[in-house]
Amino acid sequence: MVVLEIRNLSKYFGGLAAIESLDLNVVDSEILGVVGPNGAGKSTLFNVICGFLRPSKGKVLFKGEDISKLDTHEIARRGVGRTFQQTSLFMMSTVFENVLTGFHMNYRVGFWKTFLHTTAARKEEQIARQKSQEVLDFIGLGSQKDVIAQKLPYGNRKICGLATALAANPELLLMDEPMAGMNYAEIATMVKVIGELRARGLTIILVEHNMYAVRNLCDRIVVLNYGRKLAEGVPEEVLRNKEVIEVYIGRG
């Protein structure tokens, strides 16, 4: 079952084609890797999917629905989540508050009831706090819950950012270079975590430069270069493709 379909997508910034005639399908519960040199259009692709940018041409369909023209929060509410490259946290809030914000979409109580702190509002707040605590205990950051995110070591920041994104209970998760800046131990842990997420039914699109992670996690990968799809297929084959190697290492 196709979860995300990108049809003939193009995105231009003035004369520059950041993405050109891209066709892509993402299937339920798979991990799709998107790789390519810097400037290939990977971040632009994510930004278009999430609604920060509108397509110049073409469409993005999520579970069959055209989301190309929707606002970011509407796309998020339909089940799309994202971790950002460096800034996937509310830096000046505590770990607990970060994860708590992830549960924002669960609230049903309206403005006035929230303002007046009615019983219903307080009850929902209580439930969200409880869930946040559970999430934190599950991922092992329970002891750090009152630490301000900015003071966390890098690895823990990434974990917290992932936890916050997962609190929003997405069906499709876009991960923007989650391994960036990690050491081998952290990468190994992250690979395990992401594998675990897939096992639980989460569909993931992974933009990543780290080839170890890509090889071990991705069911399929897509290589982008200058906004165009260069190759697509199973990691072993694609990474042996001559053109792909040229693009990364250069000719000669």
Binding site: C50, G51, F52, D71, T72, H73, A76, R77, V80, G81, R82, F84, T87, S88, L89, F90, M91, M92, S93, E97, L100, T101, G102, H104, M105, Y107, F111, T114, F115, L116, H117, A121, E125, I148, T164, A165, A167, A168
Partner: protein, 316 residues
């Protein structure tokens, strides 16, 4: 609260009242600032509230006690209409639009005969309370009753803002201010939350305006000039951007006190204010409220949950 009983100096009461009025408006200014809405047109909503109230009383014969909440509603309604357009613009565009709004408001009111053009509305009736059981009427003759009324209004506004900030709404506002793309990806409707803040700020300014009109007893367009809007922002910054409630009040009191303590002419007042502003930016990011907070921890404790996360370090 005890002050009017102890100090018979009417002028000091006047200063307190003006500080209070400004506080109500600056509360709204700081709220918007937190969300990236740089509003330099708050005086326009202040004026909308003031003039609406005056017209309701003079043309429709309503009592002040009715025109006050109505003025707040009218100002809020204007914000609702304008906000849909203003907020979708970028930060800088929003800033410019609010400035334009302020200027346009003053011009419209200055050329409108119904509100007396540039001469304004001269004699507004003072508020009065009809005590029903023995038919007597309490008029607001001295400044004292105004003081108590303002205290009540200010308290009510502070409580309302505190209720908002300590709720999920306040947390969402913080999230928007800290990392709006992330907030949007967590399902936060940025536009709606910004609009709510814009309307709330406008309504409080409008309420302050209504009180101001009937306190002064007259209205002139120049009272709501653009430089007033600059002062509101200034009071907010000096008071402390990190403390959206304490900062608004502290900043407004300083803003009113300084011209009084330095009665050496407007130019020098402006320079002194400039110096204080620079000192605050360089040394006391939490503003004066932050400094006070280190001396009187109650300010910080009381602000728990209300501190702008930007300046968290100051809490410890």
């Amino acid at each position: 609260m005890v002050i009017p009983l102890v100090l018979e100096r009417v002028y000091v009461i006047h200063l307190f009242i003006m500080s209070g009025i400004y506080s109500i408006i600056v509360l709204g200014v700081l709220l918007q600032f937190k969300l990236g809405l740089w509003n330099l047109g708050a005086a326009a909503f202040w004026g909308i509230g003031a003039y609406s109230s005056a017209l309701l009383v003079r043309e429709l014969g309503l009592s002040f006690w009715l025109s006050l909440p109505l003025a707040a509603l009218i100002a809020g309604a204007c914000a609702l209409c304008l906000g849909s357009f203003f907020i979708r613009a970028g930060r800088v565009s929003f800033l410019l639009l609010t400035m334009v709004l302020n200027g346009v408001f003053v011009e419209i009111v200055g050329h409108w005969e119904l509100v007396g053009g540039w001469e304004g509305i001269p004699r507004l009736p003072k508020p009065s309370i009809h005590v029903s059981f023995n038919g007597s009427v309490m008029e607001f003759v001295t400044k004292t009753p105004y003081y108590y009324l303002l205290l009540f209004l200010l308290l009510m506004t502070v409580v309302a803002f505190y209720a908002l900030y300590s709720s999920r709404i306040g947390r969402t506002w913080s999230a928007i201010g800290l990392n709006s793309p992330l907030a949007a990806m967590l399902g936060v409707n940025l536009f709606r939350y910004k609009l709510i803040a814009f309307i709330i700020a406008a309504a409080s300014a409008g309420m302050g305006g209504s009180f101001y009109a009937h306190y002064q007893g007259f209205l002139v367009p120049r009272m709501f000039d653009m430089h007033e809007s600059f002062y509101f922002m200034l009071y907010g910054v000096v008071g402390g951007l990190a403390y959206p409630i304490a900062g608004a009040i502290v900043g407004s009191f300083i803003g009113v006190a300084i011209p009084e303590l330095l009665r050496v002419g407007e130019m020098f007042q402006a320079i002194f204010f400039g110096i204080i502003l620079i000192l605050v930016i360089l040394f006391a990011r939490g503003g004066v409220a932050g400094l006070l907070g280190q001396v009187y921890p109650i300010i910080i404790k009381g602000s728990k949950g209300v501190i702008f996360p930007f300046f968290r370090e100051l809490k410890s």
